[in-house]
Symmetry: C2
Subunit: 332 residues, 2 copies
DNA sequence: TTGTAGGCGTTATCAC
DNA sequence: GTGATAACGCCTACAA
């Protein structure tokens, strides 16, 4: 019942455990015949090396810890898939952990990783820099994804929100929009903050005379619907809505249309992320290649772990403008 | 730089490592003053126990391995979230691994878990029984989710496809449908197979005179569209389509509607899973509470690990009929 | 109450 | 080429 150990294999093959280890790890200083005996014994016993013991002895777990906030749907699954694939390719396993809030629980999740992983990937758009510095285990190399500002002293991967927002504003302006409103994400979120700032900057560049309208939102459909109601009620005057994510854009889109507002005839609607729903409903948006970001994070972290040179770069990934039917030309 | 060990704490607190261990693990046979000295030393050094070493000595890793096929979107993320939450609550971490095909790679992924986890949760709707028996590590308790038939000798969680299909057929029949077509999923998939069989049985019960139409599909939108084309071309005569998952149902729905077919007036469309898109587009479907299934799997596995009695039950989870606008009354 | 020592399953450094 | 043996970091009898 209990698993065979290297000792059992040694006994059965009539050799020392040292030889078993050598044979199984493919070292060349073993006689061919010895190797065969060991291999045979191992397979007869169904022996599988104990990864825990192995990593203790090697001081290498061949595992990386991934700490994520509450992500949803395609975003989460694509991200994890990208990481898992790359990790698997390099011979690492992935230890996944969700953190839900700012509290102790996050620190605990990080602590629980010590001694089981060789490095950490942390996505924490809502954690503060102080919090992060306090709870990141000292000896563990870690890479931050979309982390808070001011943590660029270590390796980092993040979305280039400035370029993305600029691309969208340029598109809206090019298709004749002049009064563009932005639905922002939650304040605690770094991406949301960056997008608002980028929106301001971009608007100042393209439409210096316009007064940029910014509506508060929370990344949920409901936020978009509220904005739509305000537009319909005449409280917001705009000919385009650019939401900080797709769900808000879709909520807004649906509310506008069911109120009989012509989209894109009278008002253009655009989002951010390119969730499947966006494609399905023809929403213009910025596509984020999240699986790729995950894979890159893993690649860089493993490169660091395996000593392919220090790497403290702040890598920015570009989003891609996807024009669909919610931002066509405006009605004249 | 390199992490402090229990020895460093012992030295600093001027006690033996045994006392450190006792103090840190909350055993009561330590003098209060000793405990305080240890705690102080530990926190000064920022000491965090080495989980790997700990699990080697305890023979318990407090980790469970989760092996999944290629799942997508909300299905994957909800499932993982359900498991992660429950695991975290019980003090376990989750080791995630995707397997993509039937080959060696699956066996390797399972092997890589040995010595790092206490138990395994395997979701493998596409692996054969033989394959599974061959590669499941002997000494590792494992629980199968939606596994192949014939593996009910161990603990198991699966969807009750029979009841789900029966509920949907009953609903369709009750709303006046008589010629119901089923779009099946890929043949290698257990759920798809079960749904086809259940469809046959259910049809025989409700409409013994009807000749059940079954169209091949592959769980993708495209499969649904093909079916829609066949219907429009008159190759399939039906007044209702019940697809084995939502994506196919949605593909079919969209193709039908854009060809001007009245849904549900002329043809009713129903799916399976209740993905967010289904809710959004008003698709009638069977809701699968996947997070709950994940949580239950974790709960049961941990109960087994912690010796709360053996548990070889084959637990079936019920899906829930969600009636929306694609299956209203038919036009008369 | 505390400390010493052995063991968990490996790998690596020595001798031989 | 092979075999003892000392780590790796922790827990836990057993002794004191």
């Amino acid at each position: 019942m209990s698993e065979a150990t290297i000792r059992d294999v040694a006994r059965r093959a009539q050799v020392s455990i040292a030889s078993v280890s050598r044979a199984l790890n493919g070292l060349d200083n073993v006689r061919a015949e010895t190797r065969d005996r060991v291999l045979a014994a191992a397979s007869e016993l169904g022996y599988v090396p104990h990864a825990g013991a192995r990593s203790l002895s090697l001081a290498r777990a061949h595992a990386i810890g991934v700490v994520l906030p509450d992500l949803h749907g395609e975003f989460f699954s694509e991200f994890v898939r990208g990481m898992d694939r790359e990790a698997g390719r390099r011979g690492y396993v992935m230890l996944l952990s969700n953190i839900h809030d700012e509290s102790e629980q996050a620190a605990a999740a990080l602590r629980a990783m010590r001694g089981r992983v060789d490095g950490l990937i942390v996505m924490a758009p809502h954690l503060s820099e102080a919090m992060l510095r306090r709870s990141l285990p000292a000896g563990l190399p870690s890479l931050l994804i979309n982390g808070p500002e001011g943590m660029e002293d270590g390796p980092t991967v993040r979305l280039d929100n400035d370029a993305a927002v600029e691309a969208m504003i340029a598109h809206l302006v090019a298709t004749g929009r002049r009064r563009i409103a932005h639905i922002a994400g939650p304040e605690g979120n770094v991406d949301a903050r960056e997008r608002v700032a980028a929106f301001r900057a971009s608007m100042a560049r393209h439409l210096p005379d316009a007064d940029p309208v910014i509506v508060a939102g929370d990344f949920s459909e409901e936020g978009g619907e509220a904005t739509a109601r305000a537009i319909i009620a005449g409280q917001i005057d705009c000919d385009a809505v650019f939401a900080a994510n797709d769900m808000m854009a879709l909520g807004c889109l649906q509310a506008l249309r069911s109120a009989g507002v012509d989209v894109p005839g009278r008002i253009a609607v655009a989002g951010f992320d390119d969730v499947p729903l966006a494609r399905y409903l023809g929403l213009t948006t910025m596509r984020v290649r999240i699986a790729e970001m995950g894979a890159r994070a893993i690649t860089r972290l493993i490169d660091i772990l395996e000593g392919k040179g220090a790497d403290d770069a702040a890598e920015r990934h570009q989003a891609e403008l996807v024009v669909r039917s919610t931002t066509g030309a405006r009605a004249t």
